[in-house]
Amino acid sequence: MGVSDKILLAHGSGGRLSHELIETVFKTRFSNALLNQGDDAAECKLQTANCKIAFTTDSYVVKPLFFPGGDIGRLAVCGTVNDLAMKGAKALYLSAGFIIEEGFSLETLEKVADSMAAAAKEAGVFIVTGDTKVVDKGACDGLFINTSGVGVIPQGIEISGSLAVPGDVVIISGTIGDHGAAVINARNNFGLSGNLLSDAAPLGNLVSAILKTGRVNVLRDPTRGGLATTLNEIALQSKVTINIEEDKIPVKPEVKGACEMLGLDPLYVANEGKLIAIVPREDSEKILKAMRQDQLGKDAAIIGKVEAGKPQVLLTTFLGSKRPLMMLEGESLPRIC
């Protein structure tokens, strides 16, 4: 039984299959220096303007459309703003494309649009262009949104997943697994009570605070596939070993509890308002302090370091044993027992 010739749900989970799909179907065909950077946004030099812009796109198909702490509209703005921020760019302009299923509630669409407007204001960006398509009932699941975004990368800022070097320190901006746990709880009507809230938020101000304080080599937001997958991406891009300490990783007790019950691992659960910063050791303490002064970085923590070695992520468990931390394989599935 080998590789399928059909697209599987796992191709969209952000794990290994997603990566392989992008590599083999799209990157080989679209290959160019900008695309091949492999970062969250492409860094485009504009010769005439002598500046670098960041340009990114993302599509949003989350179900349910509304969940505690957010909704598809908020995600669509924050997700794209954050991808720009992960290149150190100040996000400026977004496009918004909507694919809407026939019969979709107008009132719901308006609620989504309200949320996008509020998120754009919060992030300091303008939605300047867009598109709308309506498809037959059954041709799409309610509502899909695509947003693309551009921003300007300040002079002298070089941030990329390929720039982590041995000696660097790994910082996470806050608790992990919040978004994924909230969405799965809402999607399946588990009714788990407790503070399960999506963390969807624009990270532009937090990134500004970091860049004002010290040097940064890597910024990445651990979305689909979670912290573990994102760290693996960086390790592969930078060709380094990343060592993480399990007991340093902040996880809310309610997220831990929900994940235990559902057989999920917070390390692989999506985040939408968190970032990983990999910074030179000498700047790490002051950057950590600056992050903690921002509301979105109040739980920031140093969780590990970068070392020379083969591209991999190693986790030191809270018991002191060490083991590999792999990329997400397939999808996270609820277990039998």
Binding site: V3, K6, L8, A10
Partner: protein, 367 residues
């Protein structure tokens, strides 16, 4: 709700590891018989903490891994029937059958739905009176009561478009079969904590009584597993020094009453009876399956639907069965990590979230 963090205390863990080092006087092989133990041991890096002379062998305690190819092929065929909604726990959908998997069938248009609870299948049945809803009855004694409870509820509600494909397995006679085969050297058993929450400790008594092997019913946190290893070593020491007989002990006292769960057992007995089951890659083992009694046979999806499946073809070179009997470690398989990975699994031990090969691949072969 119990705070699990105290069962993960690294200071206590270090003390238990020291105790294990003090008690360990020779090479020992302990078999852990539950997929969740397989995963926990690897996830927490237990093998890296305890002396190398203690080998922890995986047993056949992964319900997905031991579901026969014949059953998987038939479930995939059922899922492909028009007007069937096939419902299952998540980890079944990736398991390779002879030619396909439930995931593949879903991508080709079969209505396959992943559920967290079999009761959700009843809701689907109620909302889709024109369809047949089938639930994959895969699981050990931990899980079968909830599925059987769903059957009873379906009967009460008169939901005739609901059925279960029975592939239930039970543990104690499977352990007997492993011991009878004599092929695996086992010095002690870490018995499955959640199966035991249902069946209690009595069904394992034959192991010390007839085979002179100690048993400890273990929980799933790191301190549970380390403490259970301490208890096995203490039994072995007492037996060696003072001739004390081996016994079944319960480390997982917070989860396992001695008598198990009589209500669950009564319910299983009401609806099902023991029968021979086909264990994938191991073979037929009597008394290890649960088949519907006559009164409930109308809920048996295997009898309700006729599907044609070609003869099952086991993948060439897969040594899953030997891994599940504790005869080989996953990394001794020539295909491990090369031809056989979680994304392109050859056998079930690699694809199941509780399979030994998946655990070794995900968490490293040292752990």
């Amino acid at each position: 709700m119990i705070n699990l963090d105290k069962f993960r205390d690294p200071v206590v863990a270090a003390k238990l590891v020291k105790r294990i080092e003090g008690l360990c006087d020779g090479p020992y092989s302990f078999m852990e018989v539950c997929g969740s133990h397989t995963m926990a041991i690897s996830q927490f890096g237990i093998r890296g903490l305890i002396p190398r002379s203690i080998k922890l062998l995986s047993g056949p305690g992964c319900p997905v891994c031991v579901t026969s190819l014949y059953d998987i092929d038939r479930m995939i065929a059922l899922a492909g029937l028009k007007d069937v909604i096939f419902t299952t726990f998540g980890d079944m959908i990736r398991v390779p059958g002879s030619h396909s998997s439930l995931r593949e069938a879903k991508s080709q248009g079969a209505d396959v739905r992943i559920l967290y609870s079999p009761l959700d299948a009843l809701q689907i049945a109620a909302e889709n009176p024109g369809k047949q809803v089938v639930f994959a009855g895969v699981g050990f004694e931990t899980t079968s009561p909830t599925i059987i409870a769903t059957v009873l509820e379906a009967k009460e509600k008169g939901l005739e478009n609901f059925s279960v494909y029975p592939a239930f397995k039970t543990v104690p006679h499977a352990l007997k079969a492993i011991l009878e085969s004599g092929r695996t050297k086992i010095d002690g058993f870490l018995c499955p904590g959640h199966v035991s929450a249902i069946i209690g400790s009595a069904p394992y008594q034959f192991i010390p009584a007839e085979y002179q092997i100690p048993c400890v019913i273990a929980g799933f946190e790191p301190l549970d597993i380390l403490e259970s290893i301490v208890m096995l070593l203490e039994q072995l020491r007492s037996h060696k020094k003072e001739g004390l007989a081996f016994s079944v002990q319960t480390e997982y006292r917070r989860g396992v009453p001695d008598a198990g769960n009589p209500n669950a057992l009564a319910m299983l007995d009401k609806v099902t009876e023991p029968c021979t089951a086909e264990w994938r890659a191991i073979g037929s083992i009597p008394e290890t399956g649960l088949c519907f009694r006559e009164k409930y046979v109308s809920f048996d999806a295997a009898k309700r639907f006729e599907v044609d499946v070609p003869p099952a073809i086991e993948p060439q070179g897969c040594i899953c069965g030997q891994v599940m009997m504790g005869l080989h470690q996953p990394d001794e398989c020539p295909m491990f990590g090369k031809k056989c990975t979680p994304e392109s699994p050859v056998g079930p031990c690699m694809v199941s979230s509780e399979g030994a090969c998946a655990a070794w691949y995900k968490y490293g072969t040292e752990n």
